[in-house]
Symmetry: C2
Subunit: 527 residues, 2 copies
């Protein structure tokens, strides 16, 4: 059944004509705050400031049930093929990122999942041995992760998120862009003799990553060092990079792990375990695994990722909003929105459903965001008084990571941070009447708050998994394929045509270059 | 005359019903690339991939003329009052950021502007003397800029943009968030005895900044250092922070410089001149000043910021797009989109016009973005095949900053970067037909390219000014006030109420705390 064919769809369309008005005196009261709340694994989702009432929730839950959302999640975690388009050539793969951390209680016994977990556990053991080995040598203080997209965004976001927990003598750096200034800047500050470099590419053929590998190798050689004693590979078995002779160590990933879902595999594992230590990396996996179980919960009021997915669909398809801002009130999560941009927009920025039909409804929104309170002094003006409404998911923590604080004017920094978080949530929802039109706030800006005790490795893992499953649930309900990325292909092909132009011009073959007149034109405009 | 009252408005509405189809074979050809181009100060704007033709351009130019856009820009640069709402209490101020860099040829002779320039020049001379003085002492290697919003975003974006040009022994750091983990992380890595701290707050009353000042002072004391020998103030004359006894040096800014327009004032000046040196900082100002003059050009085909503003209005108000992505193909510009978020969204995220009437058309779009090629491996899937169209402004440079490059598979990194830039622009515009619906690209995604030779101090200044004026032009044409930010007030007031709650609970006055039942409710949910 297509998304728009569900019975709940038309009832929700009806309800969306007159959603609850949060600006009315007394509507957003304590009772509403206390009842529109869901909790699991120490994480609370407060959604009193969304434009939903019991009736809307009932229909959203009916929609999830009609779309068999939890059943599809169960299939996904079991390793059934979820990455496909019916009737057309497609990747035809499972999506088994949950198997990358199924090492704890209540393991999935489905054959595919169990096999994937066994393979992943072998890599984890290899990593443990490797880290012990290099730790004894005490040779390395820094690690550079060379990779782009999912091989950078997730690992970087988590590394920064947990920097408060890293070993004092272990640092990570990330090199992704083919922009030569990226490499120059990153390598400039390192003592290469103490540096490990992990090259990450599932296909072993990512242009940016291979180019940067070459860039790094050249720098090692210039420094009189043998790159083979510094380079590690994370790649698919049998890929062009699967060549142990070239690397100090190699770790595998599999084609059932999408780049944007790969943080808990070796793609994130090598750098995170090197800098945090194996115990904390395992805590991170444990947190992700715990949320994987929450995502299997049938009751949407207990299934946080599903509830968040439904609220997102309400905002996107019924209230008609095009974007969703993710605002962590935590400086450590400064790059988490960038990870979610890929996770969400590459998964659900799709225009056909799983039967290959062009969809007639909005799919994945534009995800963007910056930490609060910083954002308040930047773009929040538009959120409060602009002409486009931006639904928001706010992430907050009761306690800080370093627990270094000062009392200033009677309150701590952490209390100021939380006061601002709550105040923005309420202000966006309720607005404010005023006779001065410039001081009038229309309100009814939907938002929700995701609250935990502290951003530690376990919670970071849970947060990561929460969003992975939120995105997957939206895909299941829209009946689109959240696990491929055909949309990146055309640009790649065209880039090669432009590269040919550069090569021909370098070789003085100007006449040939004119065969691609458009490309020739663009290149002429380079100063 | 209101925006929708202009004659060109209704003609543009008519034209928007059938905009040029860039996916038609041959429409995007060399001739179009070569004719849809504007150039000034070594900067080229290539806009063949926008959905405009000569007729649309003619009407957009008529719109600019009816709205007296260039005349208003001239008034603004002369120091007339542009920050006002008619008939209601408002700030009633000029916006004189252009006077902060009017130190070169062809100075503005209007009284207000000339006076502002004289004052700014005094501060510049003070800064020069101060930097010479501390340079002789050779005491300081690091500077921490404490400030939020415009006191952080612009200076940080420019510092990172020009890091390739900084003095090898001078580094800058930024502390903005009231999150205590921000301060802990920044101060952790510094030798405070060699550290200058510049506290930036025009009002002298920004909660985050004063709290962080306290945080920093406490760390200096703990390290046995006298904060007075390390702290510099940048603030308004007569503000609570205007107290030379507390600071090693003080520099002024004025109420006619909005935070988001303050990078070229002392707000950016102290940190940028400290790290880059005065000569390069002056080059940066020179670049900004040169673009200020371009913005006074009557012909929109030569006035790059105006042309860009008009293309943005076409996309926003006539083609109906809600966001605009800024994609710099330059890792150095990684935080430039965050600066533009504030600049644009805080300026033009408004719902009333300058007469106090609620507008009936979309104003400022949501601005977001990340560097390319990184973005290609992240959210570009949605840009190519999603259900929401995202207009894009791409920023590129012919040459890299460090000029360290490798040849890999026949081309350099820089050539790969540029090939991807051009390829994305073309792919988004033309799309691609395919019988497999998953390989079909609808195209007609409007975008433009801003191309310069190299990101050096002069070009960085020009880029900054280009966007300042683009935003101002859009405000002039929409007839909204781009220079206030009333939308941030409500959250501030509510945050104080929550802070009171925390304070009462700290003091054990639980009964009192219940006076703000909603606040009490939220606080109870903190774990």
């Amino acid at each position: 059944m297509s998304f728009q064919g569900h019975k709940a769809y038309s009832r929700l369309q009806e309800l969306a004509k007159k959603p609850i008005d949060l600006t009315q005196e007394g509507v957003l009261n304590s009772q509403r705050v206390d009842s529109f709340i869901a909790e699991a694994m120490g994480m609370k989702l407060l959604y009193a400031t969304e434009r939903v009432d019991e009736e809307v929730l009932k229909e959203l839950f009916a929609l999830a049930s009609e779309a068999k959302a939890v059943k599809k999640m169960t299939s996904m975690q079991a390793g059934e093929i979820v990455n496909f388009i019916e009737g057309f050539p497609s990747e035809q793969r499972p999506a088994l990122h949950t198997a990358m951390r199924d090492f704890f209680d209540d393991r999935n016994t489905a054959k595919m999942a169990a096999e994937a977990t066994d393979l992943a556990y072998q890599e984890l053991e290899k990593l443990k041995d490797f880290l012990n080995y290099i730790e004894k040598q005490a040779r390395f203080t820094d690690i550079v992760q060379v990779g782009i997209g999912g091989s950078q965004l997730g690992p970087l976001a988590v590394y920064l998120g947990l920097e408060a927990y890293r070993k004092p003598n272990k640092r990570a750096h990330f090199l992704s862009n083919v922009d030569p200034d990226d490499g120059a800047k990153v390598l400039k500050r390192l003592d290469l003799s103490k540096t490990l470099v992990v090259i990450v590419s599932k296909s072993g053929g990512t242009l940016e990553t291979l180019t940067n590998q070459e860039y790094v190798i050249e720098h090692f050689r210039r420094a009189g060092l043998d790159p083979k004693h510094h380079l590690i590979a994370v790649t698919g078995k049998g890929s062009p990079m699967d060549d142990p002779n070239k690397y100090l160590a190699s770790f595998y990933m599999w084609d059932y792990i999408g780049g944007r879902y790969s943080v808990t595999s070796m793609v994130g594992g090598v750098t995170l375990a090197f800098t945090l230590g194996m115990e904390r990396f395992l805590d991170f996996l444990r947190g992700a695994h715990a949320m994987d179980k929450v995502a299997l919960e049938a009751d949407p009021k207990k299934n946080l990722p599903l509830l968040s997915a439904l609220l997102g669909i309400w905002n996107r398809d019924f209230l008609g909003h095009h974007t969703c801002a993710i605002i962590p009130y935590s400086e450590a999560l400064s790059r988490f929105p960038a990870h979610l941009q890929q996770l969400d927009m590459e998964s659900n920025g799709k225009r056909i459903d799983k039967k290959g039909h062009a969809v007639q409804f909005p799919t994945g929104p534009i995800i963007w965001g910056e930490p609060g309170t910083n954002g308040q002094h930047s773009f929040f003006q538009l959120l409060h008084q602009g002409t486009t409404i931006v639904p928001m998911e706010i992430i907050g923590f009761s306690e800080s990571q370093y627990r270094e604080d000062v009392l200033y004017k009677g309150t701590t920094c952490q209390e100021k941070l939380l006061s601002n978080l709550f105040a923005q949530s309420v202000a966006l929802a309720t607005g404010q009447k005023n006779d001065n039109p410039n001081k009038f706030f229309p309100g009814n800006r939907p938002n929700r708050i995701l609250l935990s005790l502290r951003l530690d490795p376990f919670t970071m893992g849970s947060l990561l998994s929460y969003y992975e499953h939120k995105v997957a649930f939206q895909g299941f309900i829209w009946d689109i394929n959240s696990f491929d990325q055909e949309g990146v292909q055309l640009g790649k092909v065209l880039a090669l045509k432009f590269l040919d132009q550069f090569e021909m011009l370098r070789q003085g073959r100007k006449a040939d270059a004119k065969g691609f007149a458009l490309g020739h034109s663009y290149l002429r405009h380079l100063s």
